[in-house]
Amino acid sequence: MTSIDVRDLTKEYGTRRAVDHLTFTVEPGRVTGFLGPNGAGKSTTMRLVLGLDRPTSGTATIGGRAYATLHEPLREVGALLDAQAAHGSRTGRDHLRTLAASNRIPVRRVDEVLEETGLATAARRRVKTYSLGMRQRLGIAAALLGDPPVVLLDEPSNGLDPEGIIWIRTLLRRLADEGRTVLVSSHLMNETASFADHLVVLGRGRLLADMPMREFIHARVQPRVRVRTTEEAALRELLARHGYEAALGDGGGWIVQHARVEDIGRLASEARLPVLELAAQEGTLEQAYLDLTAAETEFTAQPQEA
């Protein structure tokens, strides 16, 4: 199968280093979420993988080969960088036909991907009449055109309606299950959490994390327990005595930091406190991500100089 290999990749625009000695591998058979704040270098990295920009140093290869050396690249890599790329005066179908022709992809595939992306009824309309969500679907159709083993999508859920977002989630899952290599950038955490298996996180062009999503969350977000009782004072005293840090939660009850349900349940039971609710709180990707980038974000407010 085909992986994307980024090795010591650096790209400078003038004096600004957009990508800084980046090394990671995107493996087939799973969805890799590509995260980072605006300007972290996600899009630049994708452009370098596609051979659109020249790296200052380092390499980006697909199945060991530079993109420019691929024989019929659309059959090997499908990409969506910017849904505005389609010329507004062409019909959606003509747009895909021109792409298909250069890579000798049969016209039958054009109609298949139009069907698959839900654009079949709009296929003969000009692209300038398309909504943002339809343009996005057309961009995804173009990426799928050559039935490629590698798919790179930059912010694919941009402009999609709720059904569209569910559709793209299902699509990404299916592409990965078919054994394809799927790299999807996003700045929407809950969205990424719903489809990613693995994460690559960038900040200021550097690699901040490259690990399975579950592991990333567990490493970053401490386990918490939510507990509710009728004996508030007794519970608070009990938790404090055992060194737990607790705070009143939003919907009543206490949120206990660095705790597991087993520990808190046993304590409450031993103290004969009536427990109304006891639940583990899963860390979210958003919490884990914010924890990681708090110190790294390029656009965090800097103290103003006097």
Partner: protein, 241 residues
């Protein structure tokens, strides 16, 4: 990548944009109409050149050829869309060659047809004044018309690729073709013969004076075009997409 599918794609891109289609239609219509009108007067002029009168419509008509060349290239840049073209065909030299071929061939063919139609229309209008035209001159004129228009379209395409903007290329070329060449006219002496439009249009004259003839004139235009195309190719190959 093999060249034929790339060329096929570039040809499809041109065929599927109405504005480009329109430019070719305008090239034919404007040139033929103006030539027909020009042919109906002016034969008393001592500098009357029956062949150039028949092709006078090409002076405004060439704007359409230039617009075709510039827009065919700049349509790839709208909305930052060049990445998509280069993702499909990452060998940029091959892509640009296919693009230029898909520009030059239709303009050449339409130019030939336009040349023939202009001659026919003008001869009908000129009557006896056209009798002096030999078959060889007429053939040279029609062929020159096709070659000249194709070269001007490529010139515009190269400039549009260099500037990454069709508007930029046209805002240089249109004033140049319509104003500069007329204004400096004969004033600057022999040197104006070497301007890309002046040189190439010698092929459309019955008589000429100066150092350039019909074919050497087209050669000079071809050199200008080669310069613009090489600069455009350099920009396409070297710059980040």
């Amino acid at each position: 990548m093999p060249f034929t599918p790339v060329l096929h794609a570039e040809w499809l891109k041109i065929r599927t944009l109405r504005s480009l289609y329109g430019a070719l239609v305008a090239l034919f219509a404007v040139t033929t109409a103006f030539s027909a009108i020009a042919a109906t007067d002016g034969s008393d002029d001592p500098e009357f050149d029956p062949l150039f009168t028949a092709f006078l419509g090409m002076v405004p008509g060439q704007i359409a050829a230039v617009a075709f060349g510039a827009l065919a290239v700049s349509s790839e840049f709208t909305g930052g869309g060049l990445w998509l073209a280069l993702a499909a065909v990452p060998q940029r030299g091959r892509w640009f060659t296919a693009k230029l071929t898909a520009i030059a061939v239709p303009v050449f063919i339409v130019g030939l047809v336009t040349g023939g139609a202009s001659l026919a229309a003008a001869r009908a209008g000129m009557g006896a004044a056209a009798d002096g035209l030999t078959a060889g001159e007429q053939l040279r004129g029609a062929l020159g018309c096709g070659v000249y228009l194709a070269l001007m379209a490529l010139f515009a395409a190269g400039l549009a690729a260099l500037l990454r903007s069709g508007t930029g290329a046209l805002s240089i070329l249109i004033p140049f073709l319509l104003v500069v060449s007329f204004v400096i006219g004969d004033a600057a002496g022999g040197l104006t013969d070497f301007l890309p439009d002046r040189a190439g249009q010698i092929a459309l004259h019955s008589t000429w004076d100066g150092s350039l003839g019909p074919w050497t004139g087209l050669g000079v235009t071809a050199l200008w075009t080669a310069g613009a195309v090489v600069a455009g190719a350099w920009s396409v190959r070297r710059r980040d997409a």
